[in-house]
């Protein structure tokens, strides 16, 4: 009986196998363009389908990694590229990708390209800015109101005694917001001052979590996961997500004096099978329909100045007027050293 049951199971399993190619592999008529992205790439339903219909292209997506891993994978596969176009390289890794020669120049001529140009990492034209966001500390305003304490506003506030044991950030070596925040402190305190600042943070009870979700949900009191720390590293765009049904506004706020501006780029890959398709896709990413979709689907701000923001963002998610910056070439030259030094200093 068991034998029959076992054999039956194996056959039933065989019947619903998926190794046979599915229909979607063969639906291209205007060619295929393969988009290599980070894990967070996402557009609202129908947008990509419209693009495919309009151009006759079939868009195939691959998401082999996030942040630095994505760039490193592109470098490793340079001789046999994973696709035609990449989206999601950010300004902390942009110059590594450019220097490694994995991109071919393309300058888009759609209207938003002029806006995008202000964020270019260099003048090689290899990467086109698509969206941006500010990595900033967030505070749980409810917590501070309940405790009768004024919420901190600056980087220096975080080292003050009244904010001891209240802050959680993410690891600069393993998370992309963590790296951005490290860069913010380097921008603010300079090459000579950032280490002393981190030592002071550490002495003031700083907690380092491994990932954004870990910090935001497990440690942050305002993230909905019930954590205990009212100051957490997140994004300027996070507060609108904490608007509760009955509340009139968000229960958290971004500390706009602590931000580092993250810019995400797209570029045509060197050795692309379909460079024209890749260029069309970059133009599409700069179109206002995509630009206006980006806040809702990827939690980033459009680079296009003509794209309108969602109401909640206009109300509760302003960008920093004056984010901290570090020259991309500087980042490229020193990033690994900084991260290693930071690891020794803060994580031990």
């Amino acid at each position: 009986m068991r034998t029959i049951l076992g054999a039956g199971l194996v056959m039933a399993l065989a019947a619903c196998s998926v190794t046979t190619p599915t229909a979607d592999e063969s639906s291209s008529d205007g060619g295929t363009v393969t988009l290599v992205t980070h894990d967070s790439f996402h557009l609202s339903d129908g947008l990509l389908a419209d693009f495919e219909q309009r151009t006759g292209l079939t868009v195939k997506q691959v998401a082999p990694g996030d942040g630095g891993a994505l760039v490193n994978q592109l470098i490793l596969t340079k001789d046999s590229p994973l696709g035609d176009v990449v989206y999601g390289i950010d300004n902390s890794f942009a110059t590594r990708a450019i220097d490694a020669g994995v991109l071919q120049p393309y300058t888009s001529e759609v209207p938003a390209a002029a806006d995008a140009a202000q964020y270019a990492p260099d003048d090689s034209g290899s990467l086109t800015a698509v969206d941006m966001g500010d990595v900033c500390l967030n505070v749980d305003t409810v917590w501070f109101a309940d405790h009768g304490l004024a919420a901190p506003t600056t980087l220096d506030d975080l080292t003050a005694p009244q904010y001891k044991d209240l802050t959680v950030v993410t690891n600069a070596a393993t998370s992309s917001p963590g790296l951005s925040f490290l860069l913010a402190t380097i921008g603010a305190k300079g090459e000579d001052g950032w280490q002393a600042y981190w030592s002071a943070l550490k002495d003031n009870g700083l907690k380092v979590a491994e990932s954004w979700s870990d910090a935001y949900y497990s440690d942050f009191s305002g993230g909905g996961g019930g954590g205990s720390r009212p100051i957490a590293l997140s994004y300027a765009s996070s507060p609108p997500e904490t608007v509760t049904d009955d509340a009139t506004g968000p229960t958290t706020a971004a500390m706009l004096d602590t931000c580092f501006r993250q810019v995400e780029y797209a570029g045509v890959l060197e050795g692309a099978q379909n460079p024209e398709g890749a260029q069309q896709l970059i133009d599409f990413l700069l179109s206002d329909e995509v630009q206006e979709d980006i806040p809702g689907s990827m939690y980033m701000y459009p680079v296009s100045s003509t794209a309108s923001l969602p109401d909640t963002w206009q109300q509760w998610a302003p960008l920093s007027d004056d984010p901290w910056t570090v020259d991309p070439a500087e980042i490229s030259a020193n990033r690994d050293d900084w991260v290693r030094t930071w690891t020794d200093l803060v994580v031990g």
Binding site: S17, S40, V62, S80, V208, E241, Y299, V347
Partner: protein, 568 residues
């Protein structure tokens, strides 16, 4: 021609000078083929990608081994190696100490609900680490239910998580043997006046020793190469060789350092496997001697209490998970479960969670078929005990080689896949982006588990049975079909269950290769947990509960199909 008592293969091997009869030649060919298929599979989908990547670290226009001196010159390297060994050793000792009473209660005794408990202890083994990390941190953080222990971010927390994952390995490995252990020697010791403790220590424990050592080596292997757990719970402070390879590869692209560390890891893993192999071979000989299923015994209170406590501890993170998934705002509800039919608001996902589940099941079917086919062939070949020393050694090497995927970093395998799987052998589609490699990568991980489940059963078959059948005129195919197959099919249920469950929960290799338009359940959970919004967090927890329930269901079904126990 060989006499009736001589196995034909031995005759064939002993007198190589003689002309070989055609029937033997065909048989020889069949066995060679049976060994070649898995070897080619492992070679193409494991050795080639891994060696290509590691090779890059040692080749810089010419052979370059200077990485060794440099990496071993860093104090951090030694600390990492020390931490890896410490984590492996402590995790193993605790798992074994808790697992032996568990094996006793769940496999030696008999009571209602036993099958459910057996399935329950296996859930952690296949849960995605990102989920376990969330559950553990929910318990341990400052204001969590166990926050007063002050364990958050500590070495102890990592060890606890490692034990959480590996408890089932010990319980199943030791329990499988224990359930078939002849009870009479212990009864004899008792009737001669030995107390239960003394009888256990002097009679039962030595009989179980090989299984315990075998389980310990496996657990050591899993603990020493743990990646997600360590990264989520301890981060870089308690980095292991595995996490260090990950950092060096994905963050710094320092392939030289990664390659050196990979060699270090393979040495550690190889040593653990050698110990495991020795222990197993001793145990499997012993197995052949044990025939009678044991009579059920009334549970002894000491192991019962220990196991009950352990099960409560195992349940805590799972309860935290379920509680979190039912928490809606300040109240309770099943809203997050209802949301599984959606894409998470503002279409956070490309598919609904249920569709992702269907993708997962479809991939798991392919992965399971592959793993059972390849693993079954490996077990079949390795189960033979050729008399010729060279062949015997070959068989032993084959056995060990198929364990290696458990001990090599998923990052190395993933990056290696990207490196070599573009258009291998002139294939026109890019395999890396086709999605076809997802089940294959999962099968590579599941094959060792299939082998370990099926092999002991095959080895326990008395070779004389096959010889007798052959003497009576049965051809090799018929011997396989009438002697080996019926026995194997029964343990195959468990192997299928394991392969299926491992594939359902696999994330590491999948994340490198998954198509975003066809994500699996763990990929979707990872995505949901990475987005802001309490509702998506709740959805991620609900999806994790679904994954856990499904896993438990698959394992319970496998338990029902199980005849003899394998090692796991």
């Amino acid at each position: 021609m060989p006499g009736p008592a001589q196995p034909p293969s031995a005759e064939f091997l002993r007198r190589p000078g003689r002309p070989v009869p055609r029937r033997l030649r065909t048989r020889h060919l069949a066995w060679t083929l049976a060994a070649t298929v898995p070897l080619v599979f492992l070679g193409v989908f494991f050795a080639w990608p891994v060696l290509s990547l590691v090779g890059r670290g040692f080749w810089d226009g010419g052979p370059d081994l200077s990485g060794f001196a440099e990496v071993f010159g860093r104090p951090r390297t030694w600390r990492i190696i020390g931490l890896t060994l410490a984590q492996g050793a402590i995790g193993t000792v605790v798992s074994v100490l808790l697992g032996i009473p568990g094996a006793y209660l769940l496999y030696r005794c008999r009571f209602r609900g036993q099958g459910v408990l057996r399935a329950f202890v296996t859930i952690p083994f296949v849960l995605p680490t990102v989920v376990v990390g969330v559950a553990f941190r929910a318990l341990l953080r400052d204001n969590g239910p166990l926050g007063f222990l002050g364990l958050d971010g500590s070495f102890t927390a990592i060890i606890a998580a490692l034990v959480f994952f590996n408890y089932a390995v010990v319980v199943r490995t030791v329990g499988g043997l224990w359930s078939r252990l002849d009870p009479r020697p212990e009864q004899a010791a008792r009737s001669l006046g030995a107390g239960p403790a003394r009888a256990f220590l002097t009679v039962t424990l030595p009989a179980l020793a090989p299984a315990i050592v075998s389980a310990a080596s496996l657990v050591f292997l899993f603990c020493a190469t743990a990646f997600g757990t360590v990264l989520v719970l301890g981060g870089l402070r308690f980095g292991t060789v595995e996490t260090e390879i990950w950092i060096q590869t994905t963050q710094f692209l320092d392939l030289r350092a990664a390659a050196v560390l990979s060699v270090v890891q393979v040495v550690v893993v190889g040593a653990a496997l050698a110990v495991a192999g020795r222990a197993r071979s001793r145990r499997e000989r012993a197995l052949a001697l044990v025939e009678a299923p044991t009579a059920p015994t009334r549970p002894h209170p000491v192991p019962t209490v220990i196991t009950a406590l352990t099960l409560v501890l195992l349940a805590l993170p799972l309860i935290a998970l379920v509680t979190g998934s039912l928490r809606v705002g300040d109240g309770w509800g099943v809203d997050h479960y209802r949301a599984l039919a959606t894409t998470g608001g503002d279409s956070a996902l490309t598919v609904t969670v249920w569709e992702a589940l269907r993708n997962s099941l479809a991939v798991a079917v392919d992965a399971t078929l592959l793993a059972v086919l390849v693993g079954g062939l490996v077990a079949l070949v390795v189960s033979r005990r050729p008399r010729h020393p060279v062949l015997r050694r070959t068989v032993a090497v084959l056995d060990g080689a198929f364990m290696l995927p458990l001990g090599v970093s998923a990052v190395t395998v993933g990056f290696g896949f990207l490196l070599v799987m573009g258009h291998p052998f002139g294939i026109s589609t890019d395999l890396r982006t086709s999605g076809i490699l997802v089940p294959i990568a999962q099968a590579v991980v599941a094959v060792p588990l299939v082998v370990r489940t099926v092999l002991p059963v095959l080895r326990a078959i008395d070779p004389r049975l096959r010889e007798a059948a052959a003497t009576l005129g049965a051809g090799p195919g018929r011997v396989l079909a009438t002697i080996d197959l019926p026995v194997v099919l029964r343990s195959l249920g468990l192997a299928v269950g394991f392969a299926f469950a491992v594939s359902l929960g696999e994330f590491g290799a999948t994340s490198f290769l998954a198509r975003p338009d066809r994500p699996t359940l763990p990929v979707v959970i990872f995505r949901l947990i990475g987005l802001p919004g309490a509702d998506r967090y709740g959805m991620a927890l609900a999806a994790s509960v679904v994954l856990a329930v499904l896993t438990a269901g698959v394992m319970a079904l496998a338990e029902r199909l199980r005849g003899f126990g394998g090692e796991l």
